[in-house]
Each structure stands twice: as structure tokens, then as C-alpha cells.
């Protein structure tokens, strides 16, 4: 059902190719519309060596986010951010050279309608979509519509997911598999959760798609440790706390460069 002219699978192909060179993948997150010139962060992320960038479309009731990303969403919404305006900002900027993956809650997708929402993402140059409150058993319709529009719907796996369901998630996820490192919400943590290694191993048993670990990864040390198990990391709250504290694109580039370096150093992963 995929439309070949719209380069379906571009996110996955891009991530696979980079992974296969031995590179640890880095996907930083930014809440769309957080500051007037927020798209400058995307350029800074790419310059720091990001392999993909997650752009959050803020929602009034982010039930899977901890305080930092909640606050970022509230700030963006108070500034008048909306799906439409954020995508317009993205359309107006030159290609940053790495895939963009939107993330939001299902209500915003349903509100616009699956077709219209995915088409708008595509027009804005977005290649992937993460919807944390749309689990695999409710995702069939959106997966198909998204694929037709050239959008890869990324599914999340959790430490609580039983093995047969993990196989189903891995099989249906597009782009990569998002491994939620811990039983909790987004937010910085002092250490990488022990559940991260076990979950990644269980996903590896059922797929060779790229696996990115997210939730709680905040420091170069944690990124290095995550890289021992997974193909890479998603870094959200650690970025957004800095942005909320006033850090500009250059500051974020410097921070992400430390993560990039940590991932590049970690070579002794068992694969």
C-alpha cells in the first residue's frame, strides 16, 4: 500500500545506513514553537551531528510527559503554537539534511483527520510520526494512511510489553523501534534504568530494525551506556530543560556535541 513516489521508508533507510557504518544514532527533541526562532535549534542539532530530529507538536494534556516537556508544551501553546503554525515554520526552512520525525498525542491527529494530518506533515518535509498514546492494537488505520502519505509511524515498546506483543510492535513499527527505557514519563534521570538493557535485548531478538532508546537519557555517560545496548538514543527533557532555562541554539549545539562524542567513543557494543 505504500506509494513509491513518496520515498516511503526514507527515515528507516537513512537510520539503517548510518547504523551500518557503526555510528551510534542521536535523535534530539525540540518542542515546536517554543521560541520565536525555534527552527534555529533544528539547524544547531544537525550541525552537532544529529541523525534525526524529533519535533514535538504540543498538546494541552500530555499524559506521558514529565514536568519539563509539560512546561515546554505549555510555553509553546501560550505563544500561540499549533500544528498548523509549526508545520508552516518547517515548510519555510531549508532542508536540515536529516529526517524530521513529528511527535504528538493522538487527539491532534484525529482532530485534523488521518489523511489531512499526514499530508500536512509530508508537505512540511516531515518523514516520521510518533504518537505515544496510540498503541499497536489501535494503530492499524493510521499506519496505513501514514504509509500512503509517505510518513513512517514509529511504535513504542515498553519494559512491560510481553514478548509476543513486542514482536508485533517491531514488525509494524516504521522508521525505527522506539524503546521506552523505563516505566515512567519523560524527564531527566540520574542513571540509565536497568530495564533499558533488557528491553533492547528483547527487541533485538525479534527485529533488525534500528532501535532507539528514549526517556530519561540526559548525560553523555548515559548515552554511552545506552549505546552498548541500542543503536542510539532519543534526548528530550535534557534538551528542553536547557531551552526553558534560556539556552540558545549554540548552547544546545555544544551540549549535543558532548553526546555525539560519547556515542562515537562507544565502540565495544556486542553486535
Amino acid at each position: 500500500m505504500t506509494n513509491p513516489t513518496l520515498a516511503a521508508g526514507a527515515v528507516e533507510r537513512h537510520l539503517r545506513a548510518r547504523r551500518d557504518t557503526g555510528r551510534g544514532l542521536l535523535m534530539p527533541y525540540v518542542t515546536g514553537g517554543i521560541t520565536p526562532g525555534w527552527t534555529d535549534y533544528l539547524r544547531a542539532f544537525a550541525a552537532a551531528g544529529a541523525d534525526a530530529i524529533e519535533v514535538g507538536l504540543p498538546f494541552s494534556d500530555p499524559t506521558l510527559d514529565g514536568v519539563t516537556i509539560q512546561q515546554a508544551g505549555e510555553t509553546a501553546l501560550a505563544r500561540g503554537a499549533s500544528t498548523r503554525r509549526i508545520l508552516a515554520d518547517l515548510s519555510g526552512m531549508p532542508d536540515v539534511g536529516v529526517p524530521l520525525v513529528a511527535s504528538t498525542y493522538y487527539n491532534l491527529v484525529l482532530h485534523d483527520g488521518h489523511e489531512a494530518f499526514c499530508a500536512a506533515l509530508r508537505r512540511a518535509g516531515v518523514g516520521g510520526l510518533i504518537v505515544p498514546d496510540l498503541p499497536v492494537h489501535e494503530a492499524d488505520e493510521l499506519t496505513d494512511v501514514a504509509a500512503d502519505a509517505g510518513i513512517e509511524l514509529v511504535l513504542l515498546a515498553s519494559p512491560a510489553t510481553p514478548q509476543p506483543r513486542l514482536a508485533e510492535i517491531s514488525c509494524r513499527s516504521r522508521g525505527f523501534v522506539y524503546a521506552v527505557s523505563l516505566m515512567g514519563t519523560t524527564g531527566e534521570r540520574a542513571a540509565l534504568a536497568v530495564s533499558a538493557a533488557e528491553l533492547t535485548e528483547r527487541i533485538r531478538r525479534v527485529t533488525d530494525q534500528p532501535v532507539l532508546l528514549g526517556f530519561g537519557i540526559s548525560t553523555p555517560d548515559q548515552a554511552r551506556e545506552a549505546r552498548r545496548h541500542a543503536d542510539g538514543v532519543v534526548v528530550g527533557a535534557a534538551v528542553m530543560r536547557r531551552v526553558l532555562d534560556g539556552a540558545g541554539p549554540d548552547d544546545l549545539r555544544a551540549f549535543l556535541a558532548t553526546l555525539r562524542q560519547a556515542l562515537d567513543q562507544e565502540c565495544d557494543r556486542p553486535r
Partner: protein, 401 residues
């Protein structure tokens, strides 16, 4: 006061309030839109509930608890003076007389008993008016469980009495400071907390909302209101079945429980929402807190804040089964204003000697307005569930009266 849909008779199939269809669906509503980390926990609740509900031992234990601790069955009270003034025959199903003072105890006793059966040692709950929080704290104390209750800061202010009661009962009350600082945000925070506590805690949702199996399970635990009332009406009413069955709707739990007892009769079902929280009457299709239903939203798809003088109705959505009953035309959803509700509360106090919760006063306000306006034909028999007592609202009322 506004109607949004018209009656359709006879009762259409699938509007009889049985088990939901596959994947927790009531028509196109319901489902399990939970983050992956909660899907397994929902499945465990579903499995445990199905098992327990089919077990006469569980049912017997719950019935005993409800009888000896919660004070069931509750009476059906004819509202004689008010009926005479309105020209209808109004009967009140007295959930205000249960232990803790509202219908919330029916659901909580069921879920708390289920939690012990599942080996959980703690209950998590959200609360708006504080009635569900008090009921949860009560059941936890009774069964030796811990209780953590999330409550919006704004509700903590206006329902101070219930906050004290919860703490006295040994529960931890966690203030929620995000968003509108009311029920919607308390529910979000309770869900976030559950994600990190599924191993030892049961999320005791207080209404017919949330991911499958909650809307169905909570309705089944509240069904005792409708089942008792059905029997009481058969004994008391000349017609056996009332012409109208009325209840207020926040998430819609006691309305669903009441309607369930009459869904297979010709009784007309009326859900009364707060003007500022009319999910069923004004909501649009959406997904929030784990289910697909009707929610108040702005043009960008952001959920808007509800506003009601009754904290328990201050929710921007409605349970999925109500959305379905609305679509079918099996139930009708109407709204009343804060002022109308306050007026109805005073009127009930002075004609029947009952001070109702402001939530329940909404249902009464519709009955009064509909009787006065001719929407309720003279001589109609009306069953209204009086969901709770008004003690918790005295400080709010004191400022107004």
C-alpha cells in the same frame, strides 16, 4: 438549557448497555488508547474484572461490603411537595445516603476489592469534588490498602472539607498545579503516576472514562443504582417503570449505572451536564485519558477547560458509552447553568429537607425547568438519581446565598 438530539424509539439494538463490543467499543467510542507502558496493566485489570464478575464469591463479598459498610440499598424517596408544585411525580434515588455521601463508594468498593484480589497494595485515584477521593480513602482504610489521591489545586481550595476527610482517613493527597488545576489535570497526573507504579498499585478511576475496561467496569459497579431503582419503581410506581430517568453527568458514572437498570425499558433517559462542561452536548470526537469519546476542544484540537460551580462536573469530556447512547438517540443530553443548579439546590432543601450536592442539583434543575417549560408532560413519573449530599458545597454556597 439546550437539547441536542431527539428521542428515537423503540430502543435500538446495542443501546441496551450490555458488554462493549470487541476492543472495548461502544459504537465508535471507547477503546484502549493508553501509552504502551499501561497496556499490559489495563489487560490485567480487564482479565481480573472478567474473572471476578463471573465469580459468585466476589459478587457476594462486594454485596456484603456495600450492605454492612456502605449502607445499601439506598431508599427511593418520593419528593412529595416538589412533585405537587411541578405537576409531575418525582422520585429520588438516594445515593446521598450512602456512606461517604455519594455514589462514588459503589465503584470504589468494587475496584478496591478487585485490587486486593489482584494482590495490589495501593490505590491511585484522581478526584474533582473530592467524593471519589474520600470514597477511595475509605475503601483503602477498610481493606488495609494505601491510597494516593491526585487533586487539582483549585479543587483543593473549593472542596477543603473533603481534603481534610481524605487525610484523616490516612490517604496522601497530592496537589496538581498544572493546566486548569481541576479534574482533567488531576486525571492526567494520576495516569502519569500509574505508569511508574503498575507493579504494586491499582488505578481506581472514578468515572466511566479511561482506557478499556474502565468505562465498562465502572458502569457495572454503578449498575447497582439502576438495578435497585428498577425494583423499587416496580414496587412503588403505578406504571412500574418511570417515564423519565434523569441523572447528572460529569464523566457519567452514576448516570450510566442508573440508565443501565432501565435501558431495556421505554423510559426516556436524560443526562444533565453543566453548561460549562458539556462533553456530550457540545463535545467533538477526540481521544483523552485513554478513550475515544466526545471532548470540548478548540479549533486547533487542544482540549479546552471546563467551568462549573460543581467540581465533579468540571470535566471537558464524557464517558464513551454516553457518546454512543447520544448518537443512537437512546439518551438525550442537556445542560443547565450554575445559577439554575444553585436555585434547584435551595428549592430541594426547602421543599424536601434535602441539601443536595451541586452536581446532583444540576439534574434537579433540568427536571424543574422541563416541568415548568412543558418539556415534561404533566403527570409524568420521573426517577432522578440524587448522586450526593451537599455538605462539601456549603462553603461555595455560603458565598452565593
Amino acid at each position: 438549557m439546550r437539547d441536542v438530539s431527539t428521542w428515537r424509539e423503540p430502543v435500538p439494538p446495542d443501546g441496551t448497555m450490555g458488554e462493549p463490543r470487541a476492543r472495548g467499543r461502544f459504537g465508535e467510542y471507547g477503546g484502549r488508547y493508553a501509552p504502551e507502558s499501561l497496556v499490559e496493566a489495563c489487560r490485567e485489570v480487564d482479565e481480573a474484572f472478567r474473572d471476578a464478575w463471573a465469580d459468585p464469591g466476589f459478587r457476594g463479598a462486594l454485596a456484603r461490603l456495600l450492605a454492612v459498610h456502605a449502607g445499601r440499598p439506598t431508599p427511593l424517596t418520593p419528593a412529595r411537595r416538589l412533585s405537587e408544585a411541578l405537576g409531575v411525580q418525582l422520585y429520588l434515588k438516594r445515593e446521598d445516603l450512602t456512606h461517604t455521601g455519594s455514589h462514588k463508594i459503589n465503584n470504589v468498593m468494587g475496584q478496591a476489592l478487585l485490587a486486593t484480589r489482584m494482590g495490589r497494595r495501593r490505590l491511585i485515584a484522581e478526584t474533582g469534588a473530592g467524593q471519589h477521593g474520600v470514597a477511595t480513602a475509605t475503601a483503602a482504610a477498610l481493606l488495609g490498602l494505601e491510597a494516593t489521591v491526585f487533586m487539582g489545586e483549585r479543587d483543593i481550595e473549593r472542596q477543603a472539607l473533603n481534603v481534610f476527610r481524605m487525610r484523616m482517613l490516612g490517604a496522601e493527597v497530592v496537589p496538581v498545579t498544572t493546566g486548569s488545576r481541576t479534574l482533567k489535570d488531576a486525571t492526567s497526573e494520576a495516569m502519569r503516576h500509574w505508569v511508574g507504579a503498575t507493579g504494586d498499585s491499582h488505578y481506581c478511576i472514578g468515572s466511566v472514562v479511561g482506557p478499556d475496561p474502565y468505562p465498562w467496569m465502572v458502569r457495572e459497579f454503578q449498575r447497582i443504582i439502576g438495578d435497585e431503582a428498577r425494583g423499587q419503581c416496580a414496587a412503588e410506581l403505578r406504571t412500574g417503570v418511570p417515564d423519565y430517568v434523569v441523572a447528572c453527568v460529569g464523566g457519567g458514572s452514576h448516570a450510566a449505572g442508573t440508565f443501565a437498570g432501565f435501558a431495556d425499558t421505554p423510559a426516556r433517559l436524560v443526562g444533565v451536564e453543566a453548561e460549562g462542561g458539556a462533553g456530550a452536548a457540545r463535545g467533538r470526537l477526540g481521544v483523552l485519558h485513554g478513550c475515544r469519546s466526545l471532548f470540548l476542544q478548540d479549533d486547533d484540537g487542544q482540549i479546552t477547560q471546563a467551568h462549573s460551580i460543581a467540581a465533579g462536573l468540571d470535566y471537558p469530556g464524557v464517558g464513551p458509552e454516553h457518546a454512543h447512547l447520544r448518537d443512537l438517540g437512546r439518551a438525550r443530553y442537556v445542560t443547565v447553568t450554575d445559577d439554575e443548579a444553585v436555585g434547584a439546590a435551595v428549592r430541594l432543601a426547602r421543599t424536601e429537607g434535602i441539601v443536595p450536592a451541586l452536581e446532583s442539583a444540576h439534574a434537579l434543575a433540568w427536571v424543574i425547568g422541563a416541568a415548568d417549560g412543558g418539556d415534561l408532560p404533566a403527570g409524568s413519573t420521573v426517577l432522578m438519581t440524587l448522586s450526593g449530599r451537599g455538605d462539601k458545597d456549603v462553603s461555595t454556597l455560603k458565598e452565593l446565598l
